[in-house]
């Protein structure tokens, strides 16, 4: 019985009648998928299509006209837009690795068996991510105010010169990065912690038996296995950074001199304050494209297991 023609093919040849029968949608299908389809169409597909169309138009004096790619080419000569992209790049390069690194350290610490009140610590670190924007804004304004802010008062008590946290371009960027990290580090730590907890105790023991110290255990055994979780955190943080709005809107409104302007904040200003909707839509689609490209690259270069 060495050679035998397979009697049952892996994939059954489609039976026309049966297919047609299967394809006929029944009322129940629509009953189940209908609500979701309607909601998706009305609140997602339609606005998406409308904004895509809008990005090729311009409204002047109440008349909307088709302008082709004008709104897109305009971006490359717009210093504010270019500044916003540079700022985003800076935040991506500095803030995301900083935050993920800190989150990783936090997650490892939160995962230690000797740590007491673990639930409390986790909640404390997660809290900033669920804080309302208004409270967040008030707290940071109080902390970072130049005259009489808490941070400057503390600096003064230590004999240090006060810093113009939100009005100096460099310090404003540092403040922004700091406040973003404060807000999101716990969130990422909790996700990484979940990943760490899925890695069994026996791996630590096996590594220890093989003579690995704690540091080597983590860098050679644990973190490589955590790669998909880290990738998830990196990609969601990257997307979050590219869509950054809340933090710089509340802290600096993008100032001083566009030093903390981001594309989405600029989009808001262009659309809702300057009433230039076509251009705002075009900016939105460029942000979408950039997010898609960067996420794709991250998947491609960091998501793959290295070949042994």
């Amino acid at each position: 019985m060495a050679v035998q023609t397979p009697t049952a093919p892996a994939v059954r040849a489609p039976d026309r009648a049966a297919t047609a029968g299967r394809r006929r949608p029944r009322l129940t299908h629509w009953l189940f998928t209908g609500p979701a389809t309607v909601l998706f169409t009305v609140f997602f597909a339609y606005p998406l299509g409308a904004s895509f169309y809008q990005s090729f138009t311009s409204t002047e004096n109440g008349k909307t006209t088709w302008v082709g790619l004008d709104q897109y080419t305009r971006m490359f000569q717009d210093p504010s837009f270019l500044d916003s992209m540079v700022n985003t790049g800076l935040i991506l390069v500095v803030q995301v690795p900083l935050m993920i690194g800190l989150a990783l350290i936090l997650a490892v610490l939160l995962n230690q068996s000797w740590l007491r009140f673990r639930g409390t610590w986790r909640a404390v670190y997660f809290l900033p991510a669920v804080t309302t924007l208004v409270a967040y804004a008030v707290v940071f304004q109080v902390l970072l105010k130049t005259d009489g802010g808490l941070v400057n008062q503390a600096a003064d008590a230590l004999g240090l010169a006060p810093v113009d946290w939100l009005n100096d371009p460099t310090w404003a960027r540092i403040s922004l990065i700091g406040s973003m990290t404060w807000r999101w580090v716990g969130y990422n730590a909790v996700i990484l912690l979940a990943g760490l907890q899925s890695i069994g105790r026996e791996q630590h023991e096996a590594a220890a038996i093989d003579g690995a110290g704690t540091f080597t255990t983590y860098t050679k055994v644990i973190f490589p296995q955590l790669r998909p979780v880290i990738l998830f955190c990196v990609i969601t943080s990257t997307i979050g950074t590219l869509q950054l709005f809340d933090e710089n809107y509340t802290l600096t409104r993008g100032g001083p001199d566009d030093a903390t302007l981001t594309p989405v904040l600029y989009l808001y200003k262009v659309g809702f304050q300057q009433m230039d909707f076509g251009y705002a839509a075009a900016i939105a689609w460029v942000v979408v494209a950039v997010i898609a490209v960067i996420s794709f690259l991250q998947f491609r270069f960091f998501g793959r297991e290295r070949k042994r």
Binding site: R23, R24, P25, T41, A45, Y46, G49, A50, Y53, Q54, T57, T59, N61, G62, K63, T64, R74, Q77, D78, P79, S80, Q141, T146, D147, D164, L166, N167, D168, P169, T252, R253, G255, P256, D257, D258, A259, K269, F272, Q273, Q274, M275, D276, F277
Partner: protein, 442 residues
Amino acid sequence: MRRELTRRALLAGTGAAALSAVTGCATGGVTNREAVRLAPGATTPVKGAITVWSWDSAAVALTRLAKKFTARNPGTRISVVDIGYENAADKMTVGLRADTGLADVVTVDGPKMPGYIGNFPQGMHDLTPLVKPFTGDFDRAAWQTVTSEEGRVFALPWDIGPLALYYRRDLFEKAGVDAASLKTWDDYVKAGVALKKKTGVKLLIMDPAEDSFFACLLQQQGQRHFKGGKVALATPEAVRALELLKAIGDRGLIRWERGWDGQVTATKEGKSATLPTAAWWSGTLTAEMPELKGKFGVVPLPAFEPGGARTSNQGGSTLCIPAQSKNPRLAWAFIKFLLTDKDNQVSMLKREGLFPAYLPALKDPYLNAPQAYYGGQRAWKVFADLAPHIPPVEYNKDGAKAGDIAQKALTGAVLRGNDPKRQLRDSAEQLAGATGRETVAG
């Protein structure tokens, strides 16, 4: 044969419907249609109900006078909604763009009105024929904000914000500075240095996220961001305004505070010796810091050169009727009742501190009365005398863009230390690029 509703057919159908809806909305809707004109004519009594949007003390005034109006006009109902100043502009923009969701009467910030008129010329009722009899009764600078570039009128000015210099009498005394001697901005900067040296208090409060004071300094010199439709951000006047702000900033005389609350708190805590701001600030002083009674005085704004204009304008509001309104007749009747009636206007000044753009109201004896809050000074008279001298300036639909770019120039020069002239040249170029306009030579 039964027609089968296949998935493909359904998808194609919804796709086509969605596409036509998309294009239909984007090309039709509010944008490409005729303007609605509201004309006098019908003489039957107004009836029905309207909703009015406003904010803060303005909403209080409306609620009070709406009662008076409905008592006089049986069968009418007016509900006033305080939507909050911070949200007002966004709500207006979204409502005009979506062509739905706006109230019958909406309060709009005066300097923002030209942007709405220019970008949504069909979004509001054209009131030109109705306002004709009142043209001369309103302050010219305010009238400019409600008039389109083609000369059509889309709102009535409510209050205006003539600028003067509020100062702390106690601090000036301590520093030995006579407020009346501040004739020019140079005098002002010198006084600021002396005040800081003697009292340790900074000269004024500014918001790094706003360009409003810079715009005021432009208007004081007879321009805003545009001249003859061209970008005027790099004119000698603009450079002079920015150089002044940089001079004040470089001497460490600016107390930076973000937002309205920051300004109120810092003033209440006595963190600045003066505040060059509008008449409506008085309402905030008396309402929120009664304990500072007798500490403030008001003098005309310092000029750029001896004999120059001693005032400018900041803010102020207008009332308009969105084209979506189902009862524009009642809306207009209410606006007319509020704004073209001397008694009502004076009552709003007395009770809510709204400084009227309606000139006959400025002749009321109340404006001549000494005010205890200002140590017995006739403070309203200072503003009433200044109001007719507010330089009327040109506005257009790109005001918001200009404001954003000017604010960037302001922070670039004052906080980042850039050269004002170069900074403004770059800003003018950016604004020209963003609006497709030319730049004024110079």
